[in-house]
Symmetry: C2
DNA sequence: CGAAAGCGACCTGTATACAACCTGCGTACG
DNA sequence: CGTACGCAGGTTGTATACAGGTCGCTTTCG
């Protein structure tokens, strides 16, 4: 059916589905079902699932299944802290040559996002931001750092997307559009330091907004945040 | 034969063998041979090899084999630059509680290293430094950063070990002993900032020494460094 | 004698059969 | 009625058979 038969394509598709919450936390990803969908055997599917487990997006439990991980705020707080620090590192190390087509693509994304102002469509907004992030990440010259940044982004992206329905729609759209606009301007000026500052500021702002939704994200140090459709009902208390 | 049948153990063993140059660059790691050695089938071995490929320590080529990667100086230069920058990030983020046993272990390692001053044994020195690094890495409180630091270290460790025979033995032993000594002192004082500074300084010094051996490591921007026993003879020119 | 084609041994990639394991439901028993 | 046991269905883990590919040696032909 679906014609993405090579492993890398399958990996990219599944990761995007998880990142965009097409597979919400707790979803069981059966190897047999995925194998049937992509027209391959379990073997390459297993390979992909194990890599997703390494990425922290899936938990494989023998006899149970491969489950999309819950959004662990305690852990993601660490990832966010790290990502903010890495922004400076990205700016300090040598940047890559920026492809003009990437800049044009980002420019187009800004218009796409602006058009979403009147239409509440969290998934499309999230997808646009994912593409924006992908283009910006390509500007990281240090190869290992580029891979690390990509991995860390996909770990945290779900948190914002999950919070989207509870946040003020127009506010979020405007924030994304502004970030894209500021970034495109800094990219055109060739000022990677400015790009870094823009990303850092917007990331911190985003953390603040999501944190307000979660109820003091900063202060969280104890129990992990369980998704609204949690896997383990042990947190739910007696019914 | 070898009783490390679980995947994690096999992974750790193979990674250490590669890191310590027990498997020099270009070594062919046959799935069948490894499966026989560890008493398992090809399946778990494949899983380990693919993870090692993701770590940049192995290249899997269909029809050829799983080959230990060559020491690519151009790439490792990026890794080194990144690791130096990450030292500061490690110091900025919250540290983990340091286990007193780790400090004691490090203290013991210093004596082990000192004893090596009169006996030229690169592998034992490298193993000691690997253990030292492992203990220090455990002090990184930020979990994703801890994993990243571990991964990056194992990518670069081979470069120094490979250069060891060409460097001044006593000089290298003294450098390691001094780094361990300085680190243990900073750890006992609970000053993570100082630990970071020590590590950064020693890392930069090490880069300089190895760079001298490679002939201006800093200036390298072109062809990758091919190991003395290179895999692809395409670099050798016409015979 | 040289070069090229062919073949064989070995390798990884994929598919599949089987083993080990977990979960939930039905049933039987206290 | 409640609890505990057992079994059935589904899941991942492992082993293995087969397909596809690469390399080097041998052989054969120019």
């Amino acid at each position: 059916m679906s014609e993405g038969r090579d492993i890398q394509t399958i990996y990219a598709k599944l990761r995007e589905r998880i990142s965009l919450l097409d597979y919400p936390p707790g979803t069981a990803l059966s190897e047999n079902r995925l194998a049937a969908e992509f027209g391959v055997s379990r073997t390459p599917i297993r390979q992909v699932l194990h890599r997703l487990e390494f990425d922290g997006l899936v938990t494989i439990r023998r006899g149970v299944g491969s489950l999309v991980t819950s959004i662990d705020v305690r852990y993601l707080k660490q990832v966010y802290d790290l990502r903010v620090k890495l922004i400076d590192v990205i700016a300090d190390l040598d940047p890559a040559a920026i492809d003009q087509r990437d800049i044009a693509r980002i420019d187009a994304l800004r218009d796409e996002v602006r058009a979403l102002r009147g239409r509440r469509d969290p998934r499309t907004l999230a997808l646009a931001y994912l593409e924006f992030n992908r283009a910006v990440t390509r500007a990281i010259g240090n190869e290992p750092l580029r891979e690390i940044a990509d991995r860390l982004y996909h770990q945290t992206s779900r948190l914002w997307i999950d919070a989207l329905p509870a946040l003020t729609w127009v506010h979020e759209v405007d924030a994304v559009e502004q970030e894209i606009d500021d970034t495109v301007r800094a990219l055109r000026a060739g000022d990677m330091r400015a790009v870094a500052e823009v990303r850092k500021r917007h990331m911190i702002d985003c953390i603040a907004r999501v944190g307000a939704y979660l109820g003091r994200f900063d202060a969280i140090a104890g129990a992990p945040y369980t998704h609204r459709t949690p896997l383990s009902p042990s947190e739910g208390g007696p019914s």
